[in-house]
Amino acid sequence: MRIRVWGCRGSIAAPGADTVRYGGNTSCVEVRLDDGTVLILDAGTGARALGLALLEDPPPRIDLLLTHLHVDHVEGLGAFEPIWRSETVLHIWGPASPIAALDDRLATYFSPPLFPLTLAEVPARCEYHDAPDGEWRIGDTTLVSNPILHPGSTVGYRIEADGAVLAYLTDHEPGLGTDLVSTPPEWISGFALAHRADLLLHDCQYTDEEYETRFGFGHSSVSHAATFAERAEVDRLLTFHHDPMHTDPELESIRDGVLERWRVEPERCGIATEGVETGVTR
């Protein structure tokens, strides 16, 4: 299994000289499995460049796994070139809602006046699915999705393939009202998704000082991310959902802060970086 980060910024795209090292596009991660399966995690603004890259050798099927429908996770869909090709088969998965189907909720963004066209006008063959609460499969790939703690209906994903495990919990505040150090694992949001993952992409948006004024916003502090990674016994962590106000040096300071709390070899904790590809191995 290999992943390539096409966007890892949180909340809103933040291009510019201050963010050029780690990138300014919002959440989008390409996952390539050994059997050729293509999974995409979220469709933030990073999906634009990913879409162009996929056209060079179009896969027979694309599965887009949306964690939730906040705009920074779906705003790249309209610029994702494969959806404008009738030969594309696109399966879109996202969190269930008691109110409306996934395509109806997605259409809130993907329709006038916020977008010039409607989902019904998309030429690609799109199928919409509620991500099950539990284990499911795409081909030979085992996935697990569970609701996780973030405002609105949000899920995290666990992908088990090619003998390795990838966990993706990009917008997540497991420390809200919970002492992550002492709470039994079964009572920690997202724990089972991340448990002993070979690679965890996890929200690390705020410094501990910033978190004091952003309680309940749905994102993690440095201490939360470090403690969560330690409790879940993950092999590697990439900090993700970088705050749009944070510069490259500030992201490095945040990573250093994680390592001060999660006392592991430095190579086990990195910063999600746009354009960087990495293998996920056991």
Partner: protein, 135 residues
């Protein structure tokens, strides 16, 4: 996949909420197993949570000899939390409980099932309100 059991997020939030409330709150899972009650509920029941954790709600409720205000015994599954679990509907009642500390307390109990987004019932919650002489 051999991963540890994970509580549904609704239960995680309910437990977190209850743990910060001074209102007595009692939480069971969809099978009717006692999975949490807070310190205020511990005071009303005269018992620590660890002593009731993992018991079936009907067995646990029986320990507190629930009765109507008129003194008639209430069967465990006819209490509000029993009804919320067995019939999956909200319920309310005035009743008395004899705590493990042997104190009989009049309480108002309200219980309701917890439905997650996918529509499944993941448990039930009960709120206890101790009645005082003036109520």
């Amino acid at each position: 996949m051999g991963e540890p059991a994970q509580r549904n997020l609704v239960l995680i939030l309910a437990r977190s909420f209850a743990s910060r409330l001074a209102t007595a709150m009692f939480l069971v899972d969809a099978e009717g197993t006692v999975i949490y009650f807070n310190e205020a509920a511990e005071r009303l029941l005269g018992q620590r949570f660890v002593e009731g954790a993992g018991m079936r709600v009907e067995e646990y409720t029986k320990l507190f000899e629930p009765t109507t205000p008129e003194g008639e015994r209430i069967r465990p599954l006819e209490t509000p939390i029993g009804l919320a679990v067995s019939r999956r509907e909200p319920a309310h009642a005035e009743l008395t409980l004899r705590g493990a500390d042997d104190v009989v307390r009049p309480i108002a109990a309200t219980a309701f099932p917890l439905l997650a987004h996918a529509g499944e019932t993941v448990g039930a919650i009960a709120i206890f309100w101790e009645r005082s002489e003036g109520d």
